[in-house]
Amino acid sequence: MTTLRLAWLFARRSTSARSTIVLPLVAFSVVTALLLIVAGGAQAFFSWTDELAGIYQVLAVIALSLLVVPLVGLGGSAARLSARRRDDRLASLRLLGATPGLVARLTVIESTGLALAGAISGVVVSLLVSPLVGLIPFRGHPLGTSILLNPGWIALTVAGVGVLAAISAAVGLRGVILSPLGVRTRQQAPRMHWLRLVITVGVFVAAVVAMSVVQAAPGIGILATILAVGFGGSIAVLNLIGPWLLRAIASRQARRARTVRRLLAARSILESPRAAWRQVSGVAMTSFVAVFAGVGVALLGAVGQSPDQQSRLVLADIGTGVLITVIASFVMVACSAGVNQAAGILDRRDVYVSLDRIGMPVSEMNAARSRAVLSPLRITSIGSALTAATVLFPLTGMSLLISPFTLVVVAGCLTAGMLLVWAALRATRPVLDRVLAEPSPSL
């Protein structure tokens, strides 16, 4: 009861910087709207009962599961931002004798409240755009009103976003120390075991070999199965190798850095390669999916020499689904990057003020921040696309990999994604400006 009353008091007397509230609100709003749209599409697919319905239903489940990873990451970032917003008050509460548990519960309640508020606005957004989404054609017809979820499902989605935010807030707080002297990030010495590399190489080689030996697959069914297994195995090891790879590349970049921005960016990735990976892993998976699906669609089209009307529609629909998932994934990564960066600025506000004091130009600080996100993003998106291409190469040869459809999907996906994330990073500049304009009294 005390926790709830305190949470209510905190919420009423908020004087936080606008960006620190708006960013997670917008992020949760976008996430909910995307989830509802994808879930609406899934509902439409699950309403079908013919022999092709199964393919669409599996694809809908894959799309939803791809969106869950960035959603959980976003929840954790929002929680960290929430803790930072309340830095002074939480520290004062600890000084007054509040237990770490009470303070953590307060933060989780606040984050969840913010998530629910964002989710409700996301419902409004999804309803507003639903007429446009309804125009998207699947199986030759616009989805229409079949994507509209009933109120029960909408309520369940909003509640689900709230629960996910609460869980990831609680998990995210493990990386933060709520002490009477303030909120600060826990120092963790990141260590990556070389076994990750061995396992990855093993799975990767197995995937390539599997692709090589099924070149003479007797039918589309077997081919699709091999593709699915190769896809699943490769995407699983992406998460294993991602942080390790980012660490290895950032180490090299740190050694070779000639400018302050490059050095700071590389060191900040090295500070927590797992966090850097979490931030961009959604894009890695999506890039992988984009290449795999793009090539897969082209391949399936090529195998069926003269595909009938139905097959052509399925292939076109897979392309549409991939595109929607890619866009949704990038939007979420952009939101996550924005929220993470805002939290990072507040995490290190005193350090940023001290850098300003010693004469570091704000443009240099912003460049270092952007680089710390865009560099891993570039590495992971291109790296995962190349991984997918390599796995597929024995099966498809060069012709399909460089087919116009594949290239357009991959290039468009990477460019749009980079621009989105860059825009999200730019949106956090006012947070840094405010921190520098209003430093803490001790500075």
Partner: protein, 265 residues
């Protein structure tokens, strides 16, 4: 850990980390003069016409109760905030630079090239190593990384931190981290070093060591030191103690030691 005075002198002889990049302010020893400084925050008067001067090789402690205006004075002197009126001039020989006439970018460059800062918590970048932290201001002035880190390593050695170059800040004690901060403040050959409660987070023994390091590396080399502090023992290490109340100077005392040995102004 005791510091060797001749070790401190080494970086100075090698240029104190100064680069060939043209400086906004004249390098080397310089006097900082403030005249009739005023600054208000809304209805609250932080400075009400303060006159101040610090000469080369001089150390000045600024003391006063919370809200007396001491941090605002330090910020105005260092070009961090612009006063409402009055002037701050950095003078070296015949060259003079009016700090208060510079725009934000100019003041930022001045802080980068002519001033050094030591904060209460050190405020070093935790993800960088000690030597990278110290080299940072030099790299910001355009010095290549390798020579910047060489100069930084010399400063760390001069401050008794040989062997700690590759350690991250979290792996250093409070006193060691504060000495890294002192090295960072000096690496560009700053004419004036500003320190805001530099020993506020340290125990008394470490505090003494850090003040030793700060004074030896500044005033012993003819540089100026301005320290904001609540601690009388820290203030007593400075050659002058300035007391502020309600934005005005209410006391300006040359330290007893300096009077006795005839070195007071």
């Amino acid at each position: 850990m005791r510091l060797a005075a001749d070790a401190i002198a080494q970086p100075l002889e090698q240029g104190g980390g100064m680069t060939s990049t043209p400086l906004t302010a004249p390098p080397g020893n310089a006097a900082l003069t403030a005249s009739r400084l005023t600054k208000s925050y809304g209805a609250s008067v932080a400075l009400a016409g303060v006159d101040f001067r610090v000469d080369p090789g001089e150390s000045v402690a600024i003391m006063g109760a919370s809200g007396s205006g001491k941090t605002t004075l330090l910020h105005c002197l260092a070009g961090i905030v612009a006063p409402d009126s009055g002037s701050v001039v950095l003078r070296s020989g015949q060259d003079a630079l009016e700090v208060t006439s510079l725009d934000e970018a100019g003041r930022s460059r001045l802080r980068r090239e002519a001033f050094g800062f030591v904060f209460q918590q050190g405020l070093l970048l935790p993800e960088l190593t000690a030597v990278e932290n110290v080299a940072l201001p030099l790299m910001l002035t355009g010095t290549d990384r390798r020579p910047a880190e060489q100069t930084a390593a010399m400063w760390l050695a001069a401050l008794g931190l040989t062997g700690f170059e590759e350690r991250r800040i979290g792996q250093l004690s409070g006193g060691q981290a504060q000495r890294v901060a002192i090295a960072r403040a000096q690496v560009t050959g700053a004419a004036v070093v500003f320190a805001d409660e530099p020993t506020g987070a340290l125990d008394s023994q470490t505090s003494t060591e850090v003040m030793d390091a700060l004074i030896r590396s500044t005033t012993d080399r003819g540089r100026s030191l301005v320290v904001v502090t609540h601690d009388e023992s820290v203030a007593s290490r400075c050659s002058r103690v300035l007391r502020l109340a309600d934005g005005r100077i209410v006391g300006d005392r040359v330290s007893d030691d300096r009077i006795l040995d005839g070195t007071s102004r």
